[in-house]
């Protein structure tokens, strides 16, 4: 009997509890839920894995390839994670912020050594100690770009020289023979004029509305001049020399006389897009657009840069290197990643620039491929030192120079514009 009572009581109690529980819980009061996951589930790797942050300016396909390389590295190095950080257009801004906060990525793409070298780890020690890098296999000139005051801050990862692409179909239609190495700027201008037809909105050549002056150095050097003296102290007489002005004026004149069209300006398509559309016959660039030209179905050829009469053709190299941050906490692992990035395996995966290792070029027989050959002959012609390595203030000077070059392609006189630019820039060199 007593048992019965307590059972009934228990049942009532349970029912009551149920009721209150439903009343309390059914409401779904929007208190913030408990933090999901463990408190350790933050961005940082757990104790078991080491994370290397790798910053790149690339986007799109190039970025995808870099991520694949990172995955490959993770596979061969268990317990390591490569965090690829794609800074894209904000590269300089974000990198500077990272260095400023002493929280930079461990490994990063680098080209502007004069600006950043103080935040980077000198790599001479690693190179000399680590025979597996096989320094001798690199194109020797490439190391010059990563050296500041005799110290090496970047391992060459990729490079490109610049060539002239041409649309074979347009040449065939106009019954013009394909350009050959050893041609001159006069040949170039004549061909361009022949291939231009304003009515059809078709032109022989595309002139960039805004040029990177770095890329123009090849023309200036080919005309026996340069933007700055070899000791990096003078621009007057170099940047505004007759030869420099002449080299730049070529493009202004071509736009003026209709044998070339301005591309990539306000609301205009880029030169690459127009070339892919078959509306310009010739285009001057590095290796980057080659793949996209092929996929666009353009029957494309490449040729060395034209020469100024009686002067040797000179080229300029765009190089990207890999650097390690001075503040990195895992420099050895970072070095391993850098080494892997410039290994044969990784180089072969990459399409957007040229292999830095002679062995890879030989293996792939790239220097015998007519499409690639001009890049390598231009590489041999690229032995001048770019202006930005000669003077730390080059960026300031470059503002005026860029404006002058833009004025020229917009129709101003090159000599006048360059004179003004020199006048405005002198104060930075004091």
């Amino acid at each position: 009997m007593k048992k019965k009572w307590s059972m009934a009581l228990a049942a009532t109690t349970i029912a009551t509890l149920l009721l209150t529980a439903c009343g309390g819980g059914g409401g779904g009061t929007s208190e913030s839920g408990a933090p999901s996951g463990s408190p350790a589930a933050s961005g940082g790797g757990s104790a078991g894995t080491q994370t290397i942050r790798f910053a790149t300016w690339d986007t799109g396909d190039a970025l995808k390839i870099e991520q694949d390389i990172a995955k490959k590295f993770e596979e061969s190095h268990p317990g390591t994670k490569i965090q690829v950080e794609a800074y894209a257009d904000g590269f300089d801004q974000k990198l500077a912020a990272g260095f400023g906060a002493t929280n930079p990525p461990d490994v990063m793409y680098m080209w502007d050594f004069p600006t950043y070298h103080q935040s980077l780890e000198p790599l001479d020690g690693y190179v000399s100690k680590d025979a597996s890098l096989k320094v001798d296999d690199f194109y020797s000139g490439l190391f010059n770009y990563g050296k500041i005051e005799g110290k090496l801050y970047g391992i060459p990862a990729g490079f490109t020289s610049r060539v002239v692409y041409y649309n074979k179909k347009l040449f065939d239609e106009a019954k013009i023979p394909y350009p050959k190495d050893g041609w001159t700027w006069n040949d170039f201008q004549a061909i361009s004029a022949k291939l231009s037809d304003k009515a059809k909105k078709q032109y022989g050549f595309g002139v960039r509305a805004s040029n990177d002056t770095y890329d123009l150095q090849g023309f200036v050097w080919s005309n026996g001049s340069s933007f700055i003296s070899d000791d990096g102290k003078k621009i007057d007489g170099y940047m505004n020399s007759k030869e420099t002005a002449q080299a730049i004026q070529v493009f202004g004149d071509m736009v003026k006389n209709g044998s070339a069209v301005l591309v990539g300006g306000k609301g205009q398509q880029s030169g690459e897009d127009i070339f892919k559309a078959g509306k310009i016959a010739m285009w001057e660039s590095g290796i980057w657009p080659l793949e996209s030209f092929k996929t666009a179905g353009i029957d494309v050829g490449t040729v060395e840069m034209p020469a100024f009469p009686g002067k040797p053709v000179k080229g300029v190299i765009a190089e990207s290197a890999l650097s390690i941050a001075k503040d990195s906490k895992q420099k050895d692992l970072a070095w391993e990643f850098v080494k892997f990035y410039v290994s044969d395996e990784a180089i072969k995966m990459r399409k957007a620039d040229l292999p830095v290792r002679v062995s890879v070029v030989n293996e792939l027989k790239l220097d015998q491929d007519p499409l690639y050959k001009p890049f390598y002959t231009m590489l041999e012609r690229s032995d001048n030192t770019p202006a930005f390595l000669l003077n730390a203030k080059w960026n300031e000077v470059n503002r005026q120079l860029s404006a002058a070059v833009e004025a020229v392609v917009q129709g101003s006189d090159a000599q006048d514009a360059l004179n003004q630019a020199v006048k405005d820039s002198e104060r930075y060199l004091k």
């Binding site: 009997m1 019965k4 009572w5 059972m7 009934a8 049942a11 009532t12 029912a15 009551t16 149920l18 009721l19 209150t20 439903c22 009343g23 309390g24 059914g26 409401g27 779904g28 009061t29 929007s30 799109g60 509305a209 805004s210 990539g264 300006g265 306000k266 609301g267 205009q268 398509q269 897009d273 503002r399 005026q400 860029s402 404006a403 002058a404 833009e406 004025a407 917009q410 129709g411 101003s412 006048d416 514009a417 003004q420 630019a421 405005d424």
Partner: protein, 574 residues
């Protein structure tokens, strides 16, 4: 609701029903009260919380949107003030061609670029000629075709809020088109450069729209943003017709007088409290069922025993006295069972006793019939003999006859079984007179009896046989002493009859009061009858005790309850 009024409502017939109801009332009332209370409390809480949550969410959205809008506004203001600087007067409406103009353009574009944040989708200044400043990726022709772009701007501020749209006027085909929030401002400064141009600021609205969608998903509310002219800037798809019971949270955007309104159908608003309600009702119903089940089980178990007891009682009342109920537990009901059983036992033995005494009475009556002589015959005969004796001059015989008639009268008057003590004593007097006539004055008789005791009752003809015994067994030729003492002892009367006769032999004494003992010869039957009379009238604990020693005499002691004679019949205790 008291049980009494319950009873008025339902005239319950069975204990079980009453118990069940009691039990249910006791459990269900608090249960339902608790349920109702918890439902109302939690529903109130949930509703107010949800209301607050909604309000907060809308406020948050308002803040988020406002932060976009005000930043866009700030951006345009920064550009305006930049252009007010007289140094910028050379910025033209067409593409610059001269070195200095290009430097100015570059400065201006650097400034525009500096205004970029990670949310910026584009900052442009578009001149009337179609030339624009800013990133190189704007397709002005496409922009002109945008409906909102051509709309009138506010004459006061020059602002034209474009609202949300997909950024389709970007040249760069590589990037996917994304939703943006746009603001166009006409440059109206009278002194600055680029008068008549329009500033276009676009911010990536993906996060904001995601916040809207999140809000819609969380609250199920219908979101609508309208500008002061009533143009719909944003509206949840699909729309719902507004109802007048809808819950509405409304906020005004400080930046540009847009109104953000979240509308939630009442049905959705009260959904969560509805869930609580249905849960509560279900739980309450389940507990009521449970309670009912338990109550039913419990009460039926409980009342089953009561019913069994009741059935047993009924059987007993029908005369089945051998009925016994089962004793199950040692609680109150158990003791009730035990008491019932012992009660029935008692009744049974009582009935048996009654039957026995009835039988004895009958026997005695039969015997009485047997011995009955027609009293008239006897008295008439005695009178005749008296008459003869007088004629013969035998006075002593006549006296004996007279006393005998008196004694017999007492003996034959059988209408009353119990007679006052006084009368019995008078009969004894008559009897003793007879013996005196017979033997002469050779015996002593002492009577000690308080006058007040003479009204108490004594069974009829109980003393006479004892005196008879004394004269016929105790005395020789009537010689001896008799002493009769009657006293009260509490509620009892005590009668002691002592003689100094021969006494009774011990073996005879032993058999004297045993009714079934074999009788040897005469004597003893009278004593036994007297004893039986007392026992029959007053109970087995009363009656005679006889003490005797041979040659020393005999003492007879009788005890019986006091009962006074009242003429209305029936005795009473005092």
């Amino acid at each position: 609701m008291t049980f009494r009024s319950l009873k008025r409502l339902f005239p319950f017939r069975s204990m079980r029903a009453k118990l069940l109801v009691c039990f249910l009332v006791v459990t269900i009332i608090p249960l339902l009260t608790l349920g109702a209370l918890s439902y109302y409390q939690s529903a109130k809480m949930v509703n107010s919380q949800f209301g607050k949550y909604g309000e907060n969410a809308v406020a948050q959205l308002e803040q988020q949107t406002s932060s976009y809008l005000s930043r866009m506004k700030q951006t345009t203001e920064a550009i305006n003030s930049y252009l007010l600087d007289p140094a910028r007067a050379d910025l033209g409406n067409v593409a610059p061609t001269a070195y200095q103009e290009i430097l100015d353009k570059n400065d201006f574009e650097d400034f525009l670029k500096a205004l970029h944040t990670d949310r910026t989708a584009g900052i442009y200044v578009i001149t009337r000629s179609g030339y624009f400043y800013g990133e190189n990726n704007l397709d002005v022709a496409k922009l002109e075709r945008t409906l909102a772009w051509g709309a009138e701007s506010d004459p006061a501020t020059g602002e034209n809020w474009l609202g949300f749209y997909v950024q389709e006027h970007i040249v760069d085909a590589g990037s996917p088109e994304r939703p943006v929030l746009g603001l166009a401002v006409s440059i109206n400064n009278p002194y600055g450069a680029l008068r008549g141009s329009k500033i276009l600021v676009e911010e990536n609205a993906e996060d904001l729209l995601r916040a809207f969608r999140l809000f819609e998903r969380d609250t199920k509310a219908h979101l609508k943003i309208t500008d002061p002219k009533g143009r719909v800037i944003y509206e949840t798809q699909p729309g719902i017709p507004p109802g007048d019971r809808d819950i509405v949270w409304k906020k005004n955007l400080s930046a540009n007088d847009w109104t953000i309104e979240a509308r939630l159908p009442a049905r959705d608003f009260f959904r969560s409290s509805g869930i609580i309600r249905s849960n509560t009702v279900m739980a309450a119903a389940a507990s009521c069922l449970l309670a009912f089940g338990f109550a039913y089980l419990f009460s039926s178990r409980f009342t089953a025993r009561i019913r069994r007891l009741k059935d047993s009682m009924q059987k007993v009342s029908f005369g089945k006295l051998h009925t016994r109920t089962k004793v199950e537990a040692r609680d109150e009901l158990g003791s009730l069972d035990i008491s019932f059983n012992s009660m029935v036992e008692g009744i049974q033995s009582l009935v048996r006793e009654v039957e026995r005494t009835e039988a004895l009475k009958k026997e005695a009556e039969l015997r009485a019939f047997h011995y009955q002589i027609n009293p008239h015959l006897l008295f008439n005969t005695l009178n005749s003999i008296q008459w003869k004796a007088r004629l013969a001059g035998a006075e002593d015989i006549r006296q004996m006859l007279y006393h005998l008639a008196m004694v017999l009268e007492g003996n034959l008057e059988i209408t009353q079984e119990l007679v006052p003590l006084g009368r019995e004593l008078r009969i004894i007097e008559h009897y003793l007179k007879i013996q005196e006539v017979r033997y002469g004055p050779v015996f002593r008789y002492e009577l000690e009896c308080d006058e007040s005791l003479k009204d108490y009752l004594i069974p009829r003809m109980t003393l006479q046989p004892l005196f008879e015994n004394i004269f016929f067994h105790g005395f020789e030729d009537g010689k001896g002493g008799i002493r009769l003492t009657i006293r009260e002892a509490g509620s009892l009367l005590q009668l002691v009859l002592t003689d100094n006769g021969t006494g009774i032999a011990p073996d005879k004494l032993k058999r004297l009061l045993q009714p079934d003992a074999k009788r040897k010869g005469k004597g003893g039957l009278g004593v036994q009858n007297v004893d039986q009379k007392f026992k029959l009238h007053y109970g087995p604990q009363y009656g005679l005790t006889v003490q005797s020693r041979a040659g020393q005499g005999t003492t007879v002691m009788i005890q019986w309850p006091k009962k006074e004679d009242n003429r209305n019949g029936g005795g009473k205790h005092d």
